[in-house]
């Protein structure tokens, strides 16, 4: 089924076309969400929200961009909203813990113990922490480039930015990751 057939089918409420769309793009959408939220169940839930939005708002797709570009945009926006909501929840939770006299559960990079062998899980956690500390646009550009292997041109289309802006975002993201990892290396956190 071609892209236009898929869209026409979905716009008329054809569930077979919708199934074909999900089969074709589910890996891409789940992986994009996963790159931003770093949690598989959350990424799958968000990917489902993306497909539901596509099905319900298919009339809004005018065809001036590729279908994948539209899906990437929805996936990125949904994932960023999810992170923002989680940040708000964490803020209130930490406030509650402070008033209750409890210890803040959030882990800083320097909290890693040095007397234990570092497991892969801890390394993963460190990677996610350094990526999460990037500003939103840098994080999105870096994630699309590294998790989805998209070219700078494709990222520029998705983020509706110039090619030079995307190059600059990814360059700054890499520098920032390097600085954060160096801080961690100096403190012998892993």
């Amino acid at each position: 089924m071609s892209e236009s057939e898929l869209i026409n089918g979905i716009q008329t409420g054809d569930k077979r076309a919708f199934r074909a769309l999900v089969d074709n793009y589910q890996r891409m959408v789940v992986n994009t969400c996963f790159g931003i939220v770093h949690n598989q169940p959350d990424a799958e839930d968000l990917a489902q929200d993306v497909f539901l939005e596509v099905f319900r708002n298919s009339a809004q797709f005018r065809g001036d961009a590729k279908l994948s570009t539209w899906l990437y945009r929805i996936a990125v926006n949904r994932s960023l909203n999810h992170i923002r909501n989680n940040s708000r929840k964490k803020f209130w939770q930490s406030l509650e813990e402070t008033f209750k006299g409890g210890r803040n559960a959030s882990k800083e990079i320097s909290d890693y113990r040095t007397d234990q062998a570092i497991t892969e899980e801890q390394r993963r956690e460190l990677l996610h922490q350094v990526i999460d500390k990037l500003p939103e646009k840098q994080r999105v550009a870096f994630t699309l480039n590294k998790y989805e292997d998209l070219s700078y041109q494709q990222i520029a289309e998705i983020m509706e930015l110039s090619l030079a802006s995307v190059e600059s975002l990814i360059h700054r993201a890499k520098k920032s990751l390097q600085d954060q990892l160096y801080e961690c290396y100096k403190k012998k956190c892993i």
Partner: protein
């Protein structure tokens, strides 16, 4: 090249994004500097994790769950206002209601010429019937 210069470009060296001249210079430095080499290895291991974790296996029930959600009623309509604006709007309405109540109350009392009487009406039984009279009247 010194260690500080190496740390500026190491991530780009690992992804082979530098000029041949710079790549060679950093490569030579890493052969002689243990500290920079250890940092380069640590960073490379961290970045390789992305390749390991990307493209996670999607649940085989993904479409089944999605299909079930599709058959549910359409998403509940969300309020047009964000939550902070809802709180502000509610507070404003409450304030207007209280102010209106006070204003209407004042207007009404002026119309009927009533003034609030805060004095307490004391009932003094002794004034009505002194104890002596009471005792004299006892059989």
């Amino acid at each position: 090249m010194n260690c500080k210069e190496i740390h500026t470009d190491l991530i780009f060296y690992l992804s082979r994004e530098l000029s041949a001249k710079k790549m060679e210079a950093i490569g030579r430095h890493l052969e002689t500097c243990d500290d920079c080499r250890r940092f380069a290895e640590m960073m490379e291991r961290q970045l390789q994790l992305i390749d390991q974790e990307k493209n996670p296996e999607v649940s085989p029930f993904f479409y089944t769950r999605l299909s079930a959600r599709l058959d549910e009623k359409s998403e509940p309509t969300r309020s047009l206002l964000p939550s902070w604006a809802q709180v502000a709007a509610f507070s404003f309405v409450l304030l207007v209601a209280i102010s209106s109540g006070i204003y209407i109350g004042k207007q009404t009392s002026e119309i009927y010429g009533q003034k609030p009487d805060n004095s307490l009406l004391l009932i003094d039984d002794f004034e009505v019937e002194p104890i002596e009279t009471f005792l004299l009247n006892q059989p």
